[in-house]
Symmetry: C2
Subunit: 292 residues, 2 copies
Amino acid sequence: MAGDLRSLARAATAIENQTAAGRELSATLFPNTGRAVIIGITGAPGAGKSTLVDQMIAMMRTAGKSVGVIAVDPSSPFTRGAILGDRIRMQRHHADAGVFVRSMATRGKLGGLARGTLEMALLLDAAGRDYVIVETVGVGQDEVDIARLADVTVVVLVPNMGDEVQAIKAGIMEIADVFAINKADLPGAERLEQELRAMQSIAPVCRVVSTDGTGVGDLIQVIRDVYESHGPRSRSVESWSLRLTEMLRDQLLESLPAQAIEQHAERVAEKMEDPYSALAALVCLVKEKVIE
Amino acid sequence: MAGDLRSLARAATAIENQTAAGRELSATLFPNTGRAVIIGITGAPGAGKSTLVDQMIAMMRTAGKSVGVIAVDPSSPFTRGAILGDRIRMQRHHADAGVFVRSMATRGKLGGLARGTLEMALLLDAAGRDYVIVETVGVGQDEVDIARLADVTVVVLVPNMGDEVQAIKAGIMEIADVFAINKADLPGAERLEQELRAMQSIAPVCRVVSTDGTGVGDLIQVIRDVYESHGPRSRSVESWSLRLTEMLRDQLLESLPAQAIEQHAERVAEKMEDPYSALAALVCLVKEKVIE
């Protein structure tokens, strides 16, 4: 909470590894959360999300704000560290204590990524970061769930990329609070903006060129405006209902032995067992584990 | 199993109401399942799914096949019965014992619809139906889960409806085994077909005009071809793993008192409780219920 980066890094590791100490820390820190603006940045691979995040960091720092970044996108340069087993921060911000970057490269078979990301966001919030940016690639239900935990969700699109292909990705368009058209200096930007407006979404549309920073200041202002009008959605009862439901599901299913579901599925597929008996057996297994 | 419609209707009600007798019946009937071809029909509201299903039924009956229909789509005329509290079958097939229609109009807050639909499909399979058609509207995760339980999933699209709007619906495009372009006599059909092919999906594209039956025979043949090449996917180990996971989640969460999650969410949002303590309390509640 004093802002020490090494302590923060150690805390992040404890939380990511879901150790008992990590959970205790999360619980202890919880009362100190509630000040950060959590921004979700999502979109298809190749939309330039990381470059945009990089520019946003630079502008937030210029304004004297501290930033925490959680990179869940496996295609992001931010996650390279995690993939190499060596946590790195972007070169550009490496010497800046006001920027803390954490990548989340692992995901459990039965979920858990959304939960881990939430705990990390709460840690960075408690550590006094003004902004917490969560970067995800918008391709699956996990990613949609993660984007939902933000106060403001920005969907990044680029012109001429095949709007259908971008839109198809798991209903991510529906959760946009703000659309950012990146590479807005390309010819198709106008058409893309018209298409987005034709969707009759109330989400504002911003044009940016993340390689040179054009429009990024305006985007941050729009994000702030949306935050002011919505309030801290990430801390609403509705949001917590959703999260607690997910956490509970994960917790209950994680307690199962790894192969239990598949073994029963094999038996059911071979008609050696009916699905209701399999379900009863699995409930018993959860019960045993929950009691332990 | 002798094909008596009244018995079938009673069995369907017992299963839908999730009575103990219904579950016992499901378990007893399970060994008799495995012969029906389960076809999922999904798409945006207004795509003409119900009219298409109606034409498919007529052609299947002409070919001497028996049909069961499960209508999950709340906008379908098939579900009107359920909404009115009075189960009706489509007028056209009313006198035909070879057609059994069941609508599923209710859904639990924490899921359960996918599971109920599965049990209904297994009942119709055990009752000797050659085809079981499951009609859903492709707008949410529930619907995607339901479509996934089919052997062959048909996504119905119409020209000029705003492809983005159709595609946005919760990643439903990704689960298509077959695309049906309905109202294919409209001008934009060619363009829609090109767009679908440009997605590089391997799913075949069929053009139909469901109001007069054009192309519906071909569509059924394509569905059969896909079924022959995939095999009965609904009965695979992978499919059962997915279903057992969902059934287990539903079962565990259903055991919670209705307001439990929301009450804890309120306490967490007000910072009277941290999320990890709330989670532990909820796990305890599940444990108590599971033991009962």
